[in-house]
């Protein structure tokens, strides 16, 4: 599909690292967990998790050359987007626990607001390195963790998640963040016999299943994912361990 012109109407600083861009267009069929290819014409194009469909929003972290340029966009700047691509999170049950690490919380916050609209009970665990890197909260009850203890519970998301799962039942855990964190969360969910879904995003070229760059074994993040059942993900020895670099060489995460 051809990219669609999208003008930035606001650029809000979420934290030290992340800007939340809002556009003058909507992607009404986009669901939480899906992504769009975002093109800064003449520069580069990157897959971005959709942070909101109407109006279209992306939470862009200042990481890497093109992301830095995208995250420093101002009101009136023009980008070109195509999508949505990929498989959205599957709604399971009524009581959801969202677990987000860093800017991985962006698609979960979109999931939280969509879930709340359809009567789901939402609770979230949001982790970051420090208070400076915390994303804005979602609807529902929030638990905060920071590695340095500058906000909320000291430690990573597991510091809150383990005791929480001891005393409460959830229908599904939705998780997005660093892959090693998602691996730990998927294992923990399995131990507690709770369904989980994780969102595995990898370096992509085409975005629609042709180039093979985003593969985890025989699974393709762009068309089979990015969302995947946690137990299914655990079957892949590469999950949380290795991915492909720009040339397609398998490298450690």
């Amino acid at each position: 599909m051809m990219p669609i012109k999208a003008t930035v109407i606001s650029c809000e600083k979420e934290n030290e690292q992340v800007s939340l861009l809002t556009f003058d267009i909507s992607m009404p069929n986009a669901k939480p967990g899906q992504f769009a290819m975002v093109w800064l014409a003449g520069e580069d194009e990157k897959p971005m998790s959709i942070a909101n469909a109407s109006p279209l929003k992306f939470a862009i972290a200042n990481a890497g050359e093109i992301s830095q340029k995208l995250s420093s966009c101002k009101k009136g700047d023009i980008l070109f987007v195509r999508g949505p691509y990929g498989k959205p999170f599957e709604p399971i049950g009524k009581k959801w626990l969202l677990v987000g690490g860093g800017y991985g919380f962006a698609p979960l916050r979109f999931l939280a607001s969509e879930g709340a609209k359809s009567g789901k009970t939402i609770e979230s665990v949001l982790g970051a390195r420090s208070s400076k890197y915390l994303m804005k909260p979602s609807v529902g009850k929030m638990h905060i963790t920071t590695d340095d203890g500058s906000s909320g519970t000291k430690g990573n998301v597991l510091a809150v998640l383990e005791p929480l799962l001891q005393k409460e039942k959830f229908d599904c855990i939705y998780c997005c963040g660093p892959e090693k964190m998602m691996l730990a969360v998927a294992k923990l969910a399995k131990t507690h016999k709770i369904r989980s879904q994780v969102s595995i995003e990898r370096y992509m070229k085409c975005g629609f299943g042709i180039c093979g760059h985003c593969a985890m074994g025989g699974w393709l993040s762009c068309i089979d994912g990015p969302t995947i059942d946690g137990e299914e993900a655990l079957k892949y020895t590469q999950f949380g361990k290795t991915c492909h670099d720009r040339a397609g060489t398998e490298v450690e995460i």
Binding site: M2, W39, H244, G248
Partner: protein, 301 residues
Amino acid sequence: MADLTTSLCGAKMKNPLVLASGIRGNSAGLLIRAAKEGAGAATSKSCSLLAREGHKNPSALEFDSYMVNAIGLSNPGVDAEVHEISRAVKEAKIPIIASIYAGSSEEFALVAKKMSQAKPHLIELDASCPNIHSEGKMFSSSPESASEIVRAVKKDVKNIPISIKLSANVPNIGDIALSCQRAGVDCITAINTLPAMIIDVHARRPVLANKYGGLSGPAIFPVALRSVNEIRNSCSLPIIGGGGVTSGEDAAAMLMAGANAVSVGTALYYHKNAFAKISDELQSYMNEQGFSKISQIKMQN
């Protein structure tokens, strides 16, 4: 029930469908996946002597009847790829075709020699990638340059059959195929993507970061049929024919044009279970027409 089995350069195939090079990448996991999805054989994405990151994004765009890509031959390099191909040969349970790319005939011979350690069933010489013109002329553009790389590779690799992938963007694909046959090649693969570009009139720029790319998908199917038929009329080698095949009837037409096996690439974007769909449709067509074997699928004289 019509029998879909066939063979290509000595390799037995459960059906004539071959995963085309460039689709689904370099890794063993994805070649094994193609086998599980019902491919009769699978070709890896081309690999070069050294690792390449390929072009920047946007590197591919998809439309209703065509796709344009300029991935730019990203690959981990032949030494890493040999491990992937070895694993695929052992685990995929279908013939594996290793595609290689190089910038000179000497380098083609070197990469082919290295790749032969993985013991693929066939090595395909990517002599016609349209996305890297700035890095050198397309080898398949003349009978001389195409046959030169065939000779160089055949001199160094004697234990594995060699195919050469040709471009339809020439006035004489039949002559080029014939010259490759005379140079000793064992098989012809045709066609590669066709030179193309996409312009976004709102951005007022070419969309592909590389500006130019290769056209594939249903839009190129009639071009592929004619090219394969011209090759069949000029040379007697087995042909892996493809370009825009998305249905069993397309595959039957490709076989009638003169192909011995049919490559399937962009169809994987259009249909989630492309191999199963195309082979089921081909079988239905054969049953309907009273063809019991693949070799019977021919045009009327």
